[in-house]
């Protein structure tokens, strides 16, 4: 799985503003890949996961309703949207992706297709 710098398709209208890149952990084991992404402030209904071709796209919007007339005095997060795309390799089964969003952390489990799972090859000694 590799980061794709160029978006797979044109950004949608209204989504043209720059986005934050969420930090991720990617761990692969024999059965598949586990990806965790930090998406603080993104509720479930503002999270959009998409697999198109071999590109996995994570999009999320931060839902903050600041009180009226708030004057921002110190800003470290200056965008309201997360975006990151990854290209997936062939052996991953994109139809079986499981996603979970808890406390602003997205956990994706992408299993390897059955034929791509490692199989022990018995070595015969004649």
């Amino acid at each position: 799985m590799t980061d794709t710098q160029t978006p797979a398709r044109e950004p949608q209208a209204g989504h043209a503003e720059p986005a934050l890149t969420p930090p991720v952990d990617v761990i692969e084991d024999a059965g598949g890949i586990t990806l965790r992404a930090d998406l603080p402030g993104v509720p479930r209904d503002r999270l959009c996961l998409e697999v198109e071709g071999d590109t996995l796209t994570i999009e999320g919007e931060i839902a903050i309703e600041p009180p009226e007339g708030m004057d921002p005095t110190h800003v470290e997060v200056d965008r309201a949207r997360f975006h990151r795309a990854f290209s997936l390799s062939k052996e991953l089964d994109t139809a079986q992706v499981k996603a979970e969003l808890v406390h602003g952390v997205l956990t994706l489990r992408i299993p390897k297709a059955a034929h791509a799972q490692p199989r022990r090859v018995a070595v015969r000694v004649d």
Binding site: M1, P23, V24, D25, V26, I27, E28, D29, A30, I33, R36, D38, L39, P40, G41, V42, P43, I62, A63, I64, P66, P67, E68, G69, M70, D71, P72, T73, H74, V75, E76, V77, L101, V102, H103, G104, V105
Partner: protein
């Protein structure tokens, strides 16, 4: 660089030193990023700030309150320590990395997420009421609302 005769000699030495002794390109990039940040931000706060600090903080003020937003995903809210002492708000806690599967066959391809202990500090204005602070944690976002004692309304002074 060496062809530029007007370059100060110590600058040239620095370049030489870095070229000869920089073994780790990532440490070098990191240093470059810090150098650039210092060049751009001439008066950094003494407690440090900027990208990389966890949790990232946004602070805003209204006439009635100070609103602090901490972007702290993946934390058990019960372990978050939020304190106000002498007009300084402290947010502290720990985020532990999930243990990899124990079979030893897992490969880590990326490890960008923060783990470990953290502490961040915000100076609050003088007119806050520390008794009535509210803190909420939702979707990995910590929202602390600190009311101010009285709205800082301008009041007209009558001239006698």
């Amino acid at each position: 660089m060496g062809q530029d005769a007007t370059l100060p000699i110590h600058g040239e030495m620095t370049m030489l030193y870095r070229t000869l002794y920089s073994r780790n390109v990532f440490a070098e990039l990191d240093r470059l990023a810090r150098d650039m940040q210092q060049a751009l931000d001439l008066t950094p706060a003494i407690r440090g700030r900027g990208p990389g600090a966890f949790p990232a903080l946004n602070v805003g003020t209204t006439p009635r309150s100070v609103e602090v937003y901490g972007f702290a995903p993946g934390i058990d809210p019960a372990t978050l320590d939020v304190q106000i002492e002498k007009g300084v708000l402290t947010v502290a806690g720990e985020r532990r990395a999930e243990a990899p599967p124990s079979d030893g066959k897992a490969t880590t391809h990326a490890r960008e997420r923060f783990d470990g202990r953290f502490r961040r500090v915000v100076n609050l204005p003088d007119d806050i009421n520390p008794e009535a602070v509210q803190a909420r944690y939702r979707d990995g976002l910590l929202h602390i609302s600190v009311p101010r004692r009285e709205p800082a309304k301008p009041h007209r002074v009558t001239i006698q």
